[in-house]
Amino acid sequence: MAEKRAESQPVLEIRNLKVNFSTYKGIVKALNGVDLKLYSREVLALVGESGCGKSVTAQTLIGLLPENASILEGEMILNGKNLTKKSKEEMRMLRAQAIAIVFQDPMTFLNPVLTIETQLEEVFMLQKNLLREAVAIQKAEGDVKFADLIKAKSAGSSQTDKGASKKETKKVAKKLSIDLLRMVKLPDPKRILKQYPFELSGGMRQRAMIAMAFARRPSLFIADEITTALDVTIQAQILHLLKGLRDRIDASTLMITHDLSVAAEVADRIAVMYGGNIVETALTRALFRKPFHPYTQMLLRAIPNILNPVERLESIPGTVPEMINPPPGCRFHPRCPHAMEICKGERPKLLEVEKKHEVACYLY
């Protein structure tokens, strides 16, 4: 069923993205030509160790790179629009209406002195179109639910007659907030709106952040290690929530995680990242059943298997490459058991070796 979701034209396509950071110690070549495709309504997991460039990819997508970063080459195309060419102001509009991101630690990413209400409603208040639609639906049908708006978006309708008054929009925003909180399975949404972040538990805060993300009806939803800061039981709940929601919300999800089991839970496809490059992409089952890239193979071998207990866990020899002077060619070659001469030369490109399964390795 997951396979059916992938359509022919990708919603998001990243081509040969190269991003550098200039620091005191030198230039960090964080992204070294990333190629990625995200199809409509699918969940793509981006997995890799810490420092391989996953979060940098996310930052680049939403346009919030720090001052010392620069995009050297490459393109990111979302729904036909080239993000790399957009101005800051245009990116800001996209963040308000098309791209949503949820971060890792719900404690530090929510403003401690503002109520949930303020932080959720401000997302709504930025979307004039949505609000006008909502007011129109409200007037037409006497009530409005967030689900209506999702339908409205996918139907492509714009029931925008004249503008709505401030009072009306505020009322509608509040209604939608409550509705959205209910959608993310938060109990007693009216009370939660009035509370501050520190009064909620970690799992509740994360749900609130997810609500804030979906309030934009985003085309692209990025989840940057959203379960890492949670304990395992809450983690399971959140993943369950996401799986439930994705059928109702028309978004394509980029799920960034370092945990392969999380990826296995929710993802339709998985992309493995190493040293600033994508080294392998495949459908979830296919990746686990038949990994092609040596890195992926060693990664999977390192996971303890409950059916096959071993004395010693396998680990990958060596350490993560430091990005100021990365190894030339394929960045994995110093640690790769199958390394060949050619691997030190030019970086291997992603090639399709089987149906919907790509690898970047000179072995193939």
């Binding site: 530090t108 403003n111 401690p112 002195v113 997302v123 804030m212």
Partner: protein, 352 residues
């Protein structure tokens, strides 16, 4: 300053306040002892018994006065007499020959002027210092930042007496020379309205005497500005540091990722967090201004307590100085205490 986190029962607050009050008593005692020893023990100006005698007294009469008030006793005995006296409300006499008035009366006659000056000085400091700090933080390391930092630091580096005189020179002397409307250079108008709060401007407003209020205000501008110019640098730097710290936080990244405009991010998300320490410090500022107004009062002949303290130092007038230091120790310690407690109130994270 003591750090504390209040969680659970409210008993902890009272415990904390009581501890601080005990500390206050100790400080008061120590400060008084120190000042007493320094001033009485090393008489420099006029003799300590000067306010009690007249120039017509014979040496024997003077001698009797001295013995009666115990000025010939050892220092520590004198100190205990003083302590006993203040419990009866007798703070001794201050002033020069035969014009001695009770020290506490003289003090509280002049105190409202100092308070008024400090209030307006604090208002100006906040009104100018906070925006300067905000600009510095938002445009960090660019030209507006450098400009506002130079202004702030210049204020901090200005000799207090010099700045006052420069203001007088320009706004009083030269303005009147050039035919521009000018500000009065010194002093304050006589207190002609009924005393309710004791503060001239407020009493004037209460009495509806707007002419008096305006007159007082005009006299107040220059000294208040002089006072604030010197302290706004300090506030600006605190605001700047605080705001820079806040802007580095994760929730600001989150706010930006929502697509909020930078203006909204700063005003709605950042400022509230950043101004908490600055606002609470305003209380300490006020207390510090109260004490530091001495030279400004001197320059502008402002009839406040600082001016009197200056006179007292030169005259070796221990009684007045003791009242002065006593009151200020109370003010400063209480200001610190209030600020600490306020801090706990404002930050919604600290529960009771």
């Amino acid at each position: 300053m003591c750090q504390f986190r209040i969680q659970g029962s409210s008993l902890k607050i009272y415990e904390y306040i009581i501890r601080r009050l005990i500390l206050l008593f100790f400080v008061l005692f120590a400060v008084s002892a120190l000042v007493f020893y320094l001033v009485r023990g090393f008489p420099t100006g006029i003799a300590p018994w000067a306010p009690y005698i007249t120039s017509r007294m014979t040496p024997e009469q003077i001698d009797r006065v001295i013995k009666a008030h115990g000025f010939d006793r050892p220092i520590w005995e004198q100190f205990f007499y003083w302590l006993r006296d203040i419990f009866n409300g007798d703070w001794g006499l201050t002033g020069t020959w035969a014009q001695g008035r009770p020290a506490n009366e003289v003090f509280f006659d002049h105190f409202p002027y100092t308070v008024e000056l400090s209030i307006f000085g604090t208002i100006l400091t906040v009104a100018i210092g906070v925006p300067l700090g905000i600009i510095s933080a938002i445009k960090n390391n660019k030209f507006p930042d450098h400009l506002s930092r130079i202004i702030a630091l210049a204020g901090y580096s200005t000799p207090s007496y010099w700045f006052g005189f420069m203001l007088q020179l320009v706004f009083f002397y030269y303005f009147s020379l050039w035919g521009l409307p000018y500000l009065p250079s010194s002093g304050a108008p006589d207190f002609i309205v009924p005393k309710i709060t004791g503060l001239p401007i407020f009493d004037g407003l209460l009495a509806g005497n707007l002419g008096y209020v305006w007159d007082e205000f005009l006299h107040l501008i220059l000294p208040a500005f002089s006072l604030s110019f010197i302290s706004l640098g300090f506030l600006a730097r605190i605001v700047r540091a605080s705001l820079l710290e806040v802007l580095r936080q994760d929730y600001i990244t989150m706010a930006r990722s929502k697509g909020l405009s930078e203006r909204v991010v700063i005003y709605r998300h950042a400022l509230k967090n950043a101004l908490i320490p600055a606002v609470t410090l305003t209380g300490i500022f006020f207390a510090a201004l109260l004490g530091g107004a001495m030279i400004t009062e001197f320059v502008f002949s402002w009839p406040g307590v600082g001016q009197q303290a200056l006179r007292a130092v030169f005259q070796g007038d221990s009684n007045f100085l003791l009242v002065y230091s006593f009151v200020f120790a109370i003010v400063i310690v209480s200001a610190n205490l209030v600020v600490d407690v306020l801090y706990a109130f404002i930050d919604p994270r600290i529960k009771y």
